[in-house]
Symmetry: C2
Amino acid sequence: VELRDIEIFLMLAQELHFGRTAERLHVSQARVSQAIKKQERQIGGGLFERTSRNVTLTPLGAQLRDDLRVGYDTIQTGLTRASGVARGVTGTLRVGAMGFDSLLVLDVVDRFRSCNPECDVEIPEIHFSDPFGPLRRDEADIVVLWRPIREPDLTEGPVVFKVRHAMAVSANHGLADRASVSMDEYADHVAVDPGAVTEYWLETMLPSRTLSGRLIPRRGPRVRTVHELLTLVAAGKCVSPIGEHAGTFAPPGVVVVPIHDAPLLEWALVWRTDAETPLIHAFTQAARNVGPSTLHDLVGKADQDVNVATDMQELGNGAA
Amino acid sequence: VELRDIEIFLMLAQELHFGRTAERLHVSQARVSQAIKKQERQIGGGLFERTSRNVTLTPLGAQLRDDLRVGYDTIQTGLTRASGVARGVTGTLRVGAMGFDSLLVLDVVDRFRSCNPECDVEIPEIHFSDPFGPLRRDEADIVVLWRPIREPDLTEGPVVFKVRHAMAVSANHGLADRASVSMDEYADHVAVDPGAVTEYWLETMLPSRTLSGRLIPRRGPRVRTVHELLTLVAAGKCVSPIGEHAGTFAPPGVVVVPIHDAPLLEWALVWRTDAETPLIHAFTQAARNVGPSTLHDLVGKADQDVNVATDMQELGNGAA
DNA sequence: GATCTTTACGCCATGCGTAACGATA
DNA sequence: TATCGTTACGCATGGCGTAAAGATC
């Protein structure tokens, strides 16, 4: 059994789906089937129960996954770290992000830190009124922005998270208690003016037309940053599109309602093509290893953190 | 980088010698060289400093070894464990050993236990007056004996430890303060009668002739077990050959002096060929994974244990 | 010159993709 | 019939051994 097999096994144990596993590892489905079968032969017992409709781990497979996950991560981290040390990846990396977006790249930052213990990471705040300025003025090495980015001097790298398109409204707003809204409803209520921002980029977040082609007006209060925006929303002066993840962190008075018929928004890493350093490369590699997270991952992780905190508290009480 | 490469890297990091590494992994020296070079290319920095006379780890290599060792062992243990569970390796395994020999197989037992958590291991005492009886009477599943074993119904498996041939004498004996003795000196003083034991097997421990061909007399007190033997030795009534490891555990009054011109003694696992169960197979596999230990390993490990004990004590004191 | 590592070269095992097949809802 | 897992088959990458060369004492 080699590392490649283990990688396939672990991915399948996570996805529980041969097709998605194959996609995410960039191999054919057949290869996944072969690799798993080979391991089951060598282990001498079934690791997955599968029909053409359902894949589940056997108890044996679940135990093996727990063991291998730890070992595999240890090895990969060790290799990446050695590689970083060898290439002299050291210094400070500045990862610019807008508002709450920073919280969705913490996984990547953690990964990067464990692989590159000699490096510092800073997360300066950037504003959507000037998404590319920090890179071009060398105030950030990498920024986290929704994609797509099409700038001749910039490179768009791996996607770090995907969330649903949503709208932020005041808690008093008529749509505030809806589970979701349509693009048409959104178009009827939107009220925000982001000022002069690169048009094709803004279009992704603030489309100028609905799916049916109706124009969406660009009028409302002028805002430059996410915090400005949320303040005005809370005050009932502004209704704006936003990533659904803002709902998890938004202040009281602000409600975030998903738009069910809009495509997913994707945030990617972006950097100056001619300023790509080993540090930047290492960070994008960390992002590729972690893979894009979703709001669901984030919520799950928050729950875990809460559980850990609870456990520790109980432990503390028990000892006291 | 695959597991095979990591295995080669770890072995070289341990042996610091391309030739021995190749031997122990049953591959060519060239392969070792290629594998290491490949990893250094991928990591982007040197892992070993080497001349044709000396091989040492670089700091980078040393750090990588620490990381990979943990991950590699985790994965191997997980795989072995899964294999054991799948094949239903469960029940009790009885590993017979003579006297202190049991202490030199504890590494293998530990390994086996961690890979087969569902199994119990017992270590019944056996006596050199009847080395094969316990197997044939089904009182033990495996025994640990010095090799070679040539019995039609028994299989000699992996070597578990190697120690120097030595002689046990009373602390008052004339040779007691010698750093080592020759076979000829040994022949002049030996005084023990093991009774009717399989001759070819006894010959290994108690040669009938010196290197120069001189007969070694078989007379002295009759003994059946190691403890009997040591008691008589302490009383000055007996002088007997023994494995050097006995010196580490021998009671006061007994001194163990190595014989410098005798070949190394090797202890191997032995079992009934027609009674080989999955449990026995799993145990021999554990032995192969751990590899033969030497007295040096044992002493080093004992020191570590002492250190750990000391640390824990200090911790305890600090907390109290 | 003996010992140890590296390089050169060729073989073939095996990882992998394509395509056809089988099963399930 | 659409979706998903398995089997069959063929190609080529790369692991590996052999043999010779290079380095160091």
